[in-house]
């Protein structure tokens, strides 16, 4: 079973490129709200249960509700269209890989790897023509950025009492980004590179509680507080501007000038995310769940000298969303009964630190999950469509298809001794 799992997870990791967005060129780019496919299908930030009744893979406090140990992976493909642009941008990449072990329905531990932000951008300006003493100069600019910060996370869950539980997770943030700015003058490229590496850490406290449990309805509440333990710092390798005469994207002996300097700059406190989130879920006796979530996210970094393509950064974000989830039943004989159906709607609003401008994002999501095998394995599919726009500026139409596979197995099961 796990041999096949490894193959599938490897395939899921093949692509690591997310579809670009102009907004990813602000600072470190847009932070990701959703990681697991089950959460994506409901447009959830991962607080409320979307994978299994009472369980969200993105909320460690709910992990004890899992009946099996899971290896899970989520992979997304995204299509972004800008305004009336005819062509679309496609990108893909993994959203999360995760390993969770529930212990005696009371505790759980888990490991995961997930992207924290999206820094992928590729955009260019229209050609500009200027007349310099009877000579036409035609130029345009191109900008690319890629890479980002990943979070390697360790989490565990402990019970508070028989109705409430806590989950703690520690995220080690690491990664690198690359920015390339170029000006193309009469077909000659002038390029400027910088490469940055990052390191920092965040810890999260998650809560899950059963507030009301009646015959026909169960009301549960969820919350998360994320705090920066160690603000992200890093090293910036800033290459001097050069004329890429042979247009091979890198500096070599054919280029001008003959030598360029690389400034190595230590940057500290450039990214310090913190957030508060809470959510409510109401489960009706027909297995239908109605949920709502709210999140306030801020970057409390104090170093404003972060060098990105656009000289501004995402300073804060708010998320408001809600939706419906109808869980499938594991082991149900008719296969349609094993299908989990999800629907969600959300609104996010980003605020830029320096200019105060807002980036608004709206989205509608639908998702399906299919339970198979005796150990609760599940295949999830999610589709999201929405728009992202800055007032009086760019508008992006987003479509995202996500697939996730969660394979369950039995760990820590007491085996019967040989007779």
């Amino acid at each position: 079973m796990f041999s096949r799992n490894r193959t599938i997870i490897f395939l899921l990791l093949l692509g690591v490129l997310n579809a670009q967005s102009v907004f990813n060129a602000y600072g470190l780019g847009l932070s990701k709200s959703t990681h697991h496919t089950a959460s994506a299908g409901a447009g959830s930030i991962g607080l409320v249960p979307t994978f299994h009744p009472g369980v969200s893979f993105d909320n460690p406090a709910t992990w004890p509700g899992l009946q099996f140990t899971y290896v899970s992976g989520s992979y997304s493909n995204r299509n972004v269209e800008i305004g009336s642009q005819v062509s679309s941008n496609y990108g893909n990449g993994f959203d999360k890989i995760q390993f969770v072990i529930p212990i005696q329905n009371r505790f759980a531990i888990g490991l995961s790897l997930k992207p924290v932000n999206d820094h992928n951008a590729y955009f260019k300006t229209d050609s500009t023509r200027i007349n310099f003493q009877d000579r036409d100069l035609i130029f345009n600019k191109e900008f690319r950025s890629g890479g980002g910060i990943l979070a390697g996370s360790f989490g565990f869950a402990i019970p508070m009492n028989d109705r409430m539980g806590l989950g703690f997770s520690f995220d080690k943030l690491f990664g690198s980004t690359r920015n390339e700015e170029s000006l193309i003058l009469n077909s000659v490229h002038y390029r400027l590179f910088n490469i940055k590496t990052y390191s920092g850490s965040v810890f999260n406290i998650n809560f899950a509680g059963n507030f009301y449990d009646a015959k026909n309805v169960i009301v549960t509440g969820y919350a998360r507080v994320s705090m920066t333990r160690e603000p992200v710092s890093g090293t910036q390798y800033q290459f001097d501007l050069f004329e890429d005469i042979n247009d091979n994207y890198s500096f070599d002996t054919d280029d001008y000038p003959a030598t360029i300097d690389v400034d190595t700059v230590k940057v500290s406190n450039i990214y310090a995310p913190s957030s508060f989130s809470f959510g409510m879920n109401t489960q009706f006796n027909n297995d239908l769940n109605v949920f709502g979530e709210f999140q306030l996210w801020t970057d409390q970094a104090i170093n404003g000298k972060y060098n990105s393509i656009y000289k501004d950064q995402i300073g804060s974000k708010s998320h408001l969303g809600g939706g419906l989830v109808k869980f499938g039943k594991m082991g149900a004989r008719p296969w349609p009964d094993r299908i989990t159906m999800r629907f969600g709607i959300f609104k996010e609003s980003y605020l830029l630190k320096n200019s105060g401008r807002k980036i608004n994002e709206d989205g509608i999501t639908v998702g399906f999950g299919y339970k198979f095998a005796a150990t609760g394995s599940q295949l999830d599919i999610a589709y999201r469509t929405g728009t992202r726009f800055m007032t009086n500026d760019y508008k992006e139409s987003i479509q995202e298809f996500t697939i996730g596979l969660s394979l369950g197995d039995i760990w820590f099961l007491r085996r019967r001794g040989k007779q």
Partner: protein, 409 residues
């Protein structure tokens, strides 16, 4: 049943993923506002410019010239041969051996044409007392070379046709030399002995004759051939053979015609006339922003003549001393040294010359180099007798100017 459904579902999803994984990364069009990396321009006036004359520097021309042409008088040519042979690297000291007997030497020059229209007699001298240096290919000229240090005439010759095959004939000037000449080369203890010859017309001629020089790209360089015998003993000849030595330096010593009014009042360049020009661009206290790249720093000149000229190149360097811009002056030595690190060679296109001095402009903009002006001269690849004139600063429409385009991070 369940396994079948699972496998089918997995297969469909993976195929879908792989199909969608083909990324299309089209650039997103955005407005230019608030984007980094910018382009800027600035122009500087040429405030001082003048032509001047120095003795012609004919050492790098492709031909050796004899006779007269368009007012030029080609007095004589100096040729220096290599110290080792083309094959076997045989030095002249090899002939010191008593078992090696030199029979004769031949010095040959390849005529530029394949037929002899007008015959003339040439004569040859050498420099038995010349020490290790007779002439300098880059510096010798009609004012500083003393012809009297040459020997008496050691050989005379006339051009002769040599049939290469039934369809092709080449014309050579072959001087036969007495074997004693080689003694001057072999007996010296000076390794870099001159090995130089002077070739001239026996009589003044109103015609001109061109022979291939050592700098010709596709041709036959001057060659000195030594014919000798190798003896096994005092009486037994082991081998009869020859060694060829190619010219390593040569120069035509010419006297230029008088300078015309147009030559002296425009920014003119010519190799054979020794015409060069200097210009001073007023760049003031201009500072190039840090980390910027100069895309081009062109000094633009407009040619006076309107006729077309093919592949005319102008060499330019920044000067290392102040120029004298008061009046046209003829110097016995070029008074202006240039910084060879900032060499540029620019082809004249549509009668406009745009010399891109971006390297030195960058240094000037960063205050690492003092702007003392720029020097213009004709490239050695040009017809040495061509004179090209550019408008100076007094022309209302076509005055020279420097235009700098740079990119800022």
């Amino acid at each position: 049943m369940n396994i079948n459904i699972l496998n089918t579902t997995l297969g469909v999803c993976l195929i879908g993923l792989l199909a969608l994984s083909a990324c299309e990364e089209a650039a997103i069009p955005v407005g230019v506002d608030n984007t980094p990396i910018t382009l800027d321009t600035i122009s500087f006036p040429v405030v001082k410019a003048i032509a001047y004359q120095s003795p012609p520097e004919m050492g790098k021309t492709e031909y050796l010239y004899f006779g007269k042409q368009d007012g030029f008088y080609f007095q004589y040519n100096l040729i220096k041969f290599d110290s080792t042979s083309v094959t076997a690297n045989t030095p002249f000291s090899y002939f010191n051996d008593s078992l090696v007997v030199v029979d004769s030497l031949t010095l040959s020059l390849r005529f530029d044409k394949d037929s002899i229209a007008s015959d003339a007699e040439f004569q040859l001298r050498y420099f038995p007392s010349g020490g290790d240096s007779v002439f300098n290919e880059l510096e010798s000229n009609y004012l500083n070379f003393n012809q009297s240090i040459a020997s008496e005439i050691i050989s005379t010759a006339q051009m002769e046709a040599d049939s290469i095959d039934t369809n092709k004939t080449e014309v050579y000037l072959n001087f036969t030399l007495d074997s004693s000449i080689v003694n001057a080369f072999r007996d010296t203890s000076v390794l870099e002995y001159n090995r130089s010859f002077l070739v001239e017309l026996a009589n003044e001629s109103s015609e001109s004759f061109y022979f291939h020089s050592t700098d010709i790209q596709a041709g036959i360089k001057p060659e000195l051939t030594v014919f000798y015998r190798n003896f096994l003993s005092d009486t037994v000849v082991f081998d009869t053979t020859s060694r060829s030595y190619l010219a390593v330096a040569d120069i035509s010593i010419i006297t230029p015609p008088p300078i015309s009014y147009e030559d002296s009042t425009t920014l003119s360049v010519s190799i054979a006339k020794g015409l060069k020009s200097i210009v001073f661009v007023d760049m003031g206290d201009w500072t190039l922003p840090s980390k910027s790249i100069v895309s081009s720093a062109q000094i633009v000149f407009n040619r006076v003549e309107s006729d077309s000229i093919t592949q005319f190149k102008v060499i330019s360097h920044p000067m290392t001393s102040d120029g004298n811009y008061e009046r046209f002056t003829s110097y016995t030595d070029d008074p202006y040294d240039e910084d060879l690190n900032y060499f540029t060679s620019t082809t004249l296109i549509d009668n406009m010359l745009k010399i891109n001095h971006r390297k030195v402009a960058t240094e000037i903009g960063h205050k690492n180099f003092t702007n003392l002006g720029f020097k213009l001269q004709s490239s050695f690849s040009n017809d040495p007798f061509a004179t090209v004139k550019f408008y100076g600063i007094n022309n209302i429409d076509s005055y020279p100017v420097m235009r700098v385009i740079y990119v800022l991070p």
